[in-house]
């Protein structure tokens, strides 16, 4: 943050801190729970998702604590099965999939478009209510003692187990529709509600990412719906389609399941990549490099995501032919992912990097995502996968993608838009320390699991007494998990304490050039007093630091720079 010493004059005339904003416009529980305002829905989503994250985190800590010793510490094996299933199911269906689109996307998407709301505000509210129902059902399952199938609900075990599979799959079914409605809303909003001045290639990259995500949500999620419906029918009515005892085909269940659940991985990572594309430009004070490549690679990833699902089934009895086809196709996903990495790194090159809290998470994201991507290659290779399949190598790999990448981007996004959401600045020192602690803790936790997995430790195992050599890796991993826990609690403290103690946030604390920074802090109920003009969303030079404001002010309209003209 450099100060020019001179006073810079804002060209925006609307007040920075209006008397009435979306937070204080109306009061009371009903004014929130039945609101049609996308910003309030986004905030409610964020609170619910963070609650679910806390719950999933508690289960994660229980797992890591249990594995500190090779023998039994707290749980019987049956209890352990339930704990890791709940950890997985909660984190996947309640945290990672809705995380960025429903919480951050809902808040930011219409603001970035300069629109008043999403296309279907009622549908948006319905989607949140469905999420709450799903959350309550998951809690009910927890109260009933949990389930022990693993989050994948593989048949035939999920048909036989006595745990409440029907309830948790109904919850996932409902959450699926919540996700579909969010996606549907976003596609229509992006298509129909862009201001006339915002062409497709003047859209912020987060919108491209959310659009690609919504595409997957629309096409893949219904297949999860029918899969879970068939599983429910299978359990209740014994139709036998997935049950070998009745002549059914259990591998067919896996095809159905992964036709959704592989693209679901991209429902998680694509919006995360979108958030990173925004942040990396803002905090490098530089125009994004290779805009079109990043935009197209989002679409490419969304399409590729539908033709690689079989790589989850290399050892499930899938045919050799399809193993080879899926293996080859899986490698192709690395191309658009690498395109993005290259463009982010190049954006940072010769930029003036501001190591604010969101940027620390962004840098961790890039480090972690590189490892996540590279460890995916041996898993996509058939020969090595036979050895690594269902070991801690896989566990480490998907935590690097799902947690280290998606969740870090989510947390980065929360720190980035927090001042806009709440109107308050959080304590940078505490938050930055927390960010470093979480980042280092994450790598300690999960990097140790790569050697553990290649030594042969299978996933989902409770005891490893026969292999005392493995204990040291488990212990390192557990210590890392505690570091992360402290880091996350600290980050939560920094954010929550800012609500009462934080200083008033300026219009634009970081200097992002997308439209959401042009409105007041916090925004007014209908977002903008006048529909803003959309220029180049990465013309960061159009905002200059002002000591007087304590933030960036817009000094000229953002224009499409000839260097970056597409």
């Amino acid at each position: 943050m450099s100060s020019t010493g001179q006073t810079v004059k804002s060209i925006l005339t609307s007040p920075v801190h209006p008397e009435v904003n979306y937070l204080n416009a109306t009061k009371g529980f009903a004014s929130w729970f039945f609101t049609l305002d996308h910003k309030r829905i986004g905030i409610m989503y964020m609170c619910s998702i963070l609650t679910a994250f806390f719950l999933g985190g508690v289960f994660a800590m229980l797992i890591r604590t249990e594995l500190f010793t090779p023998g039994q510490l707290m749980f019987t094996s049956d209890q352990y099965n339930r704990v890791f299933t709940l950890h997985g199911a909660i984190m996947v269906f309640l945290v990672l999939i809705p995380g960025i689109p429903a919480a951050l996307g809902n808040f930011v998407l219409p603001l970035m478009l300069g629109a008043k709301d999403v296309a279907f505000p009622r549908l948006n509210l319905l989607s949140y209510h469905l999420y709450v129902i799903g959350l309550v059902m998951a809690l009910l399952v927890l109260g009933l003692g949990g389930i022990d199938t693993g989050w994948t609900f593989y048949t035939p075990y999920s048909i036989q187990t006595q745990t409440p599979v029907v309830l948790i799959t109904s919850a996932a079914f409902i959450l699926g529709f919540s996700s579909i409605f969010t996606g549907l809303n976003f596609i229509v909003t992006i298509h129909k509600m862009r201001p006339p001045s915002m062409t497709w290639f003047k859209m912020p990259l987060l919108l491209w990412a959310l659009y690609s995500t919504a595409l997957i949500q629309i096409v893949a999620t219904p297949v999860l719906g029918i899969t879970l419906l068939l599983l429910i029918v299978e359990r209740v009515m014994h139709i036998g389609i997935f049950n070998p005892a009745l002549g059914g085909d259990p591998v067919l269940f896996q095809h159905f399941f992964w036709f959704y659940s592989h693209p679901a991985v991209y429902i998680m990572i694509l919006p995360a990549m979108g958030v990173i594309s925004e942040l990396v430009s803002t905090f490098s004070r530089k125009h994004i490099f290779g805009y079109r490549f990043i935009a197209y690679s989002s679409i490419a990833i969304a399409i590729f995501s539908f033709i690689v699902w079989g790589h989850h089934m290399f050892t499930s009895g899938q045919s050799n032919l399809m193993n080879m086809v899926f293996s080859a196709l899986t490698f192709s996903v690395s191309i658009p992912s690498a395109v993005k990495m290259f463009n982010w790194l190049t954006t940072m090159y010769k930029g003036s990097i501001n190591l604010a809290t969101p940027m620390i998470y962004t840098l961790s994201f890039m480090f972690i995502f590189a490892i996540a991507g590279l460890t995916g290659l041996p898993l996509a290779t058939l020969a090595t996968d036979i050895h690594l399949h269902d070991t801690y190598f896989v566990v480490a790999h998907f935590h690097y993608t799902m947690m280290g990448s998606t969740l870090f981007a989510f947390v980065a996004g929360i720190h980035y838009w927090w001042p806009k959401m709440t109107g308050r600045m959080y304590n940078q020192k505490v938050a930055r320390f927390a960010a470093w602690l979480v980042s280092i803790g994450f790598n300690v936790t999960f990097f140790s699991q790569f050697p553990l997995g290649s030594l042969g430790m299978p996933r989902r195992y409770h005891l490893y007494e026969a292999m005392p050599d493995w204990q040291i890796y488990h212990q390192i991993s557990t210590i890392g998990a505690y570091m992360q826990m402290i880091g996350f609690l600290l980050a939560a403290y920094a954010l929550i304490s800012s609500l009462s103690k934080g200083k008033l946030a300026p219009r634009n604390p970081w200097g992002g050039a997308t439209l959401e920074w042009e409105t007041s802090t916090p925004p007014i109920t209908f977002n903008f007093e006048d529909t803003p003009d959309a220029g180049d969303p990465y013309d960061v030079e159009s905002w200059q630091w002002s000591d007087e404001e304590g933030g960036y002010v817009k000094v000229r309209p953002s224009v499409v720079d000839e260097d970056h003209a597409e």
Partner: protein
């Protein structure tokens, strides 16, 4: 009744396309004719070709419904693309899943042959166990007998409805 939908007369909508009635009737007539055709052809054609033709007729019917009843022909093209994209992903799903099951099928046959052997060569006995379990759970009465006993009228009307057997 005026069918000139493209003129802006009073009482005409500002948005959307109004289908002329003769068009609706013609489409309906074609749909009925195709239904009669497909029923008439069923069982008359050898092997897989019968299925192919039945599916072909169904697709023509589906296109008629989509283009005229659902106004796709006059709608914004993008809505049609959405529909086509949906069909494309369905094709991907069917294609990969059936390619795989077709190739691992040979691994299942031995398992089924063993199961048949264990059942003493009787196909009936292969999947008998779960059915027995179900019937035992219902006091030895099958759903068949219990339902038929309770719902005599239903059984009668079913006979009246010319059920196959």
């Amino acid at each position: 009744m005026s069918n000139k939908s493209h003129h802006h007369e009073p009482g005409h909508p500002t948005v959307g396309h109004v289908s002329p009635l003769p068009q609706l009737f013609m489409v309906f007539g074609a749909l009925v004719a195709l239904t009669i055709l497909t029923v008439a052809l069923s069982g008359k054609l050898p092997g897989a070709s019968g299925m192919m033709i039945a599916m072909g007729i169904a697709t023509v019917k589906a296109l008629l419904v989509a283009l005229y009843f659902m106004h796709l022909r006059y709608d914004r093209p993008f809505n049609g693309y959405i529909f086509l994209a949906g069909i494309l992903f369905v094709a991907v799903f069917f294609g990969f899943a059936s390619l795989d099951t077709a190739t691992y099928r040979r691994d299942i046959l031995p398992y089924e042959a063993d199961k048949l052997g264990a059942a003493g060569g009787s196909e009936e006995a292969m999947y008998e166990e779960p059915r027995k379990a179900y019937q035992n759970a219902h006091q030895g009465k099958s759903l068949h007998t219990s339902e038929a006993g309770e719902e005599q009228p239903a059984a009668e009307s079913e006979d009246a409805g010319a059920a196959a057997h």
